[in-house]
Structure formats: C-alpha cells, structure tokens
C-alpha cells in the first residue's frame, strides 16, 4: 500500500472532523428523507403511488447527497498539499523515495476514500427507497458511479489548487469558487446563451456551443445519469469524458507543480 495513503488516512481519522463530518452528513440525509416523507405524505389527496414516492425520494436524495458532498470534497483535498507546505514537511516527502506521482496519488486516493466513506455510510439511508419501489439497483449504481466521478474531479481540481497555493485557506476558497463556477455559473451561461437560441426540436437542436458549459456541470451530469439505460449516449458519456479530462489535466498540472515545489519548500 502506498505509504502516503496509510499516513493520510491515519491522520484524517485522528482529526475531529474525521467523525464530525460523517455524523453531520448522516444527520442531514436523515433530515432530508424525513422532510420529503412528511411533505409527500401530507400532500392533499395522497394520490401518489408507492413507486412514485420512491422515485421522488430517490431523486431528492441523489441531488441532496451530491450537493452535500460537493460542499465537503474540497475540505479534504484543498488543504492536502498546502498543509505540507505550511508544516514544512514537503521537503521531507520530496527528498524521500516517494515520487510526485506517489505523493499525488496518496493525497488523491485518501481524499476520495473519505468522500467514498460518506457515500458508503449513506447507503442504508438510500436503501430506504427500495421499500417503496420504482427504483432498481441500476439507478442506484449509475447515480453512485456518476457521483464518484464528479467527486473525483472536484478532488483533483482542489488538489491542483492545493499545489498552486501556499496557504490552505486560499486553496480552499478557490476550490469552492470552482465548485460554484461549475454548478451555478455554467447554468447561468447556458441560460443566457439559450435566450438567443430558438430550439424548436428539443435538446439536440440546441447548438453544441450553447450546451457545452453544461457538460461541466455536476448537477447536469447527474441528471444525464437518470435517463433510461439506452439513452445514456451521448450526453452522459460526453459529461463523463469532460469530467475525466478535467481531472486528468488537473492531475498533470499538480504533478508539474509538485516537481517544481522544491523552490518554495
């Protein structure tokens, strides 16, 4: 096992946030599920079928979970390299036999593992939807996979910022700005671009340059995963490609920064 991953996980689990964040996350999910249940069951007429209720609950949980994890992912990765600079421990790592790739992978895997842990502990809550029907293992699987890809990309972006800045507070702030740009600004740009376009034949008649910002939007990516299996192509795959490309680019830039970081170490 990469010694960096072992070290990172050990240190993270020792931190107070190592148990506070999962607890808050679980509490938030439980609050959301309770709220949705209360709202749906108190609706006038109560005409919803069980499976409809299951689908509503699943969608609410999927988007809420992604929103919560988008807020948490930068916490774990944006400070991962800046803390090494702040503690002056980076020279020790760089002069050991750990290469920049191992250092990056250790930081990335440990950050992602913690987010995956949150996803994992949310499964019992998420599985409540099976009781109502309307949602199968495929839907749960594709949503979970899409969420992991999104969070992996956010972690890679935050790690890049962590390699670019000297202070954790700056790297974290810029990581959150990036999350906001990806989730909100892309949507606004799409909305503005759409106002000057007449799309009469549905989604595919919208020019690619107008749609393009949405391919980097985590909420849009998740939405493309919620279509029937045979309709995943091309939108879901395009989003997947865009997110993986951004993550790969950020990884390459982080490695370049790490190789040059002896100057500031």
């Amino acid at each position: 096992m990469n010694p960096m991953i072992r070290k990172e996980l050990r240190q993270r689990m020792r931190e107070r946030r190592g148990w506070i964040l999962p607890s808050l996350y679980l509490l938030a999910l439980c609050a959301i599920i309770s709220f949705v249940y209360y709202e749906q069951s108190s609706e006038s007429g109560r005409t919803q079928q069980g499976w409809q209720f299951g689908v509503t609950l699943f969608l609410t949980l999927a988007y809420s979970q992604l929103a919560l994890l988008l807020l948490m992912a930068p916490i774990f990765s944006a400070g991962a390299l800046t803390i090494e600079k702040e503690q002056r421990t980076l020279p020790g790592l760089l002069t050991s036999l750990l290469g920049p790739v191992q250092i990056w992978w250790g930081k990335f895997a440990a950050s992602l593992m913690f987010v995956l842990l949150l996803l994992l502990i949310g499964i019992p809550v998420l599985s409540a939807v099976f009781a109502f029907g309307g949602v199968g293992p495929w839907e749960v699987g594709i949503v979970a996979f899409t969420t992991v890809v999104i969070l992996g990309t956010i972690s890679a972006i935050s790690l890049y910022w962590s390699s670019a800045f000297r202070r954790s507070v700056h790297a974290t702030a810029v990581s959150y700005v990036t999350v906001v740009v990806m989730t909100v600004v892309t949507l606004i740009i799409f909305g503005i671009a759409m106002s000057s376009v007449r799309a009469q034949d549905g989604w595919h008649s919208i020019p690619l340059e107008v749609r393009a910002p949405l391919y980097l939007n985590p909420l849009f990516f998740l939405t493309t995963a919620l279509v029937p299996k045979n309709q995943l192509y091309p939108e879901w795959f395009t989003c997947l490609g865009a997110f993986v490309a951004v993550a790969a680019l950020c990884a390459a830039l982080t490695l370049r920064n790490l190789r040059r970081s002896g100057d500031v170490a």
């Binding site: 010694p3 960096m4 072992r6 070290k7 050990r10 240190q11 020792r14 931190e15 090494e84 503690q87 002056r88 421990t89 980076l90 020279p91 020790g92 790592l93 760089l94 002069t95 050991s96 036999l97 750990l98 002896g262 100057d263 170490a265």
Partner: protein
C-alpha cells in the same frame, strides 16, 4: 564524494548561485559558511534534488543530481534549516512512515526504526505525539528520520538554529559520531564555533560564488588530516613571552610564529603527543603557562577578514 562544478541558479532573474565550485572528500565533515543570502541553502537544495540548477554539474557519490535523482536520494540524508514534522503523528509512526517512504523492506523496518529511536535517545518517547516533544527532541527525531535509510552523505542546512546550548553540544557530538562512522557530512551554519570544533574544512561562499581569504584560498583547513603536518597552538604565559619563545624555538619540531608579552603562537609538527611533550618542556623550563590551546578565533577572524562583518 560531493563534487560541484560551475553551478548556477537564478530566482526571477536574481542569481542565487553564480558558478560555485566545491569538492568534499569521502568521510569529511565539511562546513559551508557565508552571510545570509550567500547561496548556501540553494546549494544544499540542489544537492538534495529539491531544486534543479540552471547550469553546471553536481554529483554525489558519483551520481549526477539532475540526471539520477533517485540514486542521489538513496545516498543522501537531507535536513533543512526548519525541519518539518507531522505534529499529529506518534514518534514511532513518523519514523515508520519515512522508513516505508525510503522503501526499507517491511521485515527490516521495525528493527531500523528501533535503532533510530535508540540512537536519538527517543526510545522512551516512541508512543508520544511529535507535538509533545521539546525542540531539541524534535531535532533529534528529524535527524533519526534522515538517517533511516543509512545515507552515505548528510546535507545539513543550519541544523543548530534555535537549539539551546546543551542541545547544540548534543548535536555536535552526534555529528562527530556519525562522521566517525564514515558518513560524509556537508554542514551549513552561521555558528562558527561549531564549525571550528567539528569540521575538517570550511568553504567560503557569498553572492553565490566561492570567496577567497587573504591567502587566496576559498577553503579553510581546520583539521589537518595528516597528523604529521604542523598544527597551530596558542600559548598564554604569565609574563615574559620573549623568554618563553626562546625555550619554544629550542624544541625540535616547533616553530614560533608570533610573540607577544603574554602569548605566543607556535606551529607544532607531528602527533598530538609532540604537543604534550612541548608543553611539559615549557613548564619544566620554568615558563608559567596559563593557556595552551589551538586558537579558537581563527575561523571567526578569517570570516571577518573575508566578509568584513561580525558573524551571528
């Protein structure tokens, strides 16, 4: 063991190293001295593979630091001026992590870590968190980490910074011990007394270049490796330095260099026993010797001569 030839490095157009040269022999404890901003840390960072030189060649144990950084990392132990430690790790965990990072096989790792703990006298604190250690202990822990992979060369950048006098003496003794075990040490420091005490030679650096003393040498010899070569001694006498100089001049192997009413400077050839014999000769001749020592201010004096400022 360490060869640096015409090394150059600039930061944003400002020259940190400007054609610096250095040669450190195997088994030497070599000092690097110069004012702040002289380029000492930059040189040590280049040698430890942390940064790349713009031009020139640097080799350690025969490996080019730019072309073969992994081999250099295996051969070198680097200790920066402000060693960073993971405060939230236990002492043993810290050493285990770096033993793993230096690819020490898992079956040997525990023994290597135990040895590091013993040699740094931190065995009793193995389960303490790093943040609970004193500054001196942290310095010892970092040195133990630096030695985990049994490096042939130690690169130490101002290792005594911030240490209290006892910890400094401790560090000095430890470095002498390591040097006696055959480890080549390149030590940068502003504390001239320490360099004087433990180094065999010291290189002068300023503005990223080699600096020469009045004799035209850029390396000051502090220890004569060949015991048959003459050594300088300062002899303090109660009065009548001239008479003492006469007795000294009559002793075989002794050359009087300088005479003052209460002191003289002599050069004694041969083993240390020869110096002891000379001292006995002076005393039995009726010279009232109050001090007999190798001049401690030599390095400081030469530093002032070269750089024209008082060292820290």
């Amino acid at each position: 063991m360490i060869e640096v030839s015409q090394i150059r490095k600039s930061y944003n157009g400002s020259r940190a190293l400007d054609g610096f040269n250095l040669r450190v022999e195997k088994g030497e404890l070599f000092g690097l001295v110069g004012p702040n901003g002289a380029g000492k840390s930059t040189l040590i960072k280049i040698l430890s593979t942390l940064i790349r030189a713009d031009s020139g060649v640097a080799r350690i144990a025969g490996f080019d630091v730019a072309a073969d950084p992994l081999a250099v990392k295996s051969a070198v132990g680097y200790m920066p001026d402000q060693p960073g430690l993971y405060q939230d790790m236990r002492v043993r965990e810290f050493l285990e992590f770096f033993a793993d990072a230096f690819r020490i096989p898992s079956q040997r790792r525990r023994a290597v870590v135990d040895q590091g703990l013993d040699e740094s006298a931190l065995g009793a604190r193995a389960e303490s968190f790093v943040e609970e250690l004193s500054f001196g202990m942290k310095q010892r822990l970092f040195l133990a980490k630096t030695l985990l992979h049994s490096p042939q060369v130690l690169l130490l950048d101002e290792p005594a910074t911030g240490l209290d006098p006892l910890a400094r003496v401790d560090l000095r003794d430890q470095l002498k011990r390591l040097n006696q075990q055959g480890i080549t040490i390149l030590l940068s420091s502003h504390i001239l007394a320490d360099l004087q005490e433990i180094c065999s030679r010291v290189a002068l650096i300023a503005g990223g270049k080699n600096q020469q003393d009045a004799a035209g040498s850029s390396v000051i010899e502090l220890r004569t490796p060949d015991s048959s070569l003459p050594r300088l001694y300062e002899v303090g006498v109660l009065r009548d330095g001239e008479r003492a100089a006469q007795f000294a001049g009559a002793f075989t192997g002794v050359k009087v260099m300088q005479v003052e009413p209460s002191r003289m400077l002599v050069e004694i050839s041969g083993e240390a026993a020869q110096a002891a014999e000379f001292l006995r000769h002076l005393v039995t001749s009726g010279v009232q010797v109050v001090r007999f020592d190798r001049p401690a201010a030599t390095l400081e004096q030469r530093y002032r001569d070269v750089f024209g400022e008082k060292p820290r």
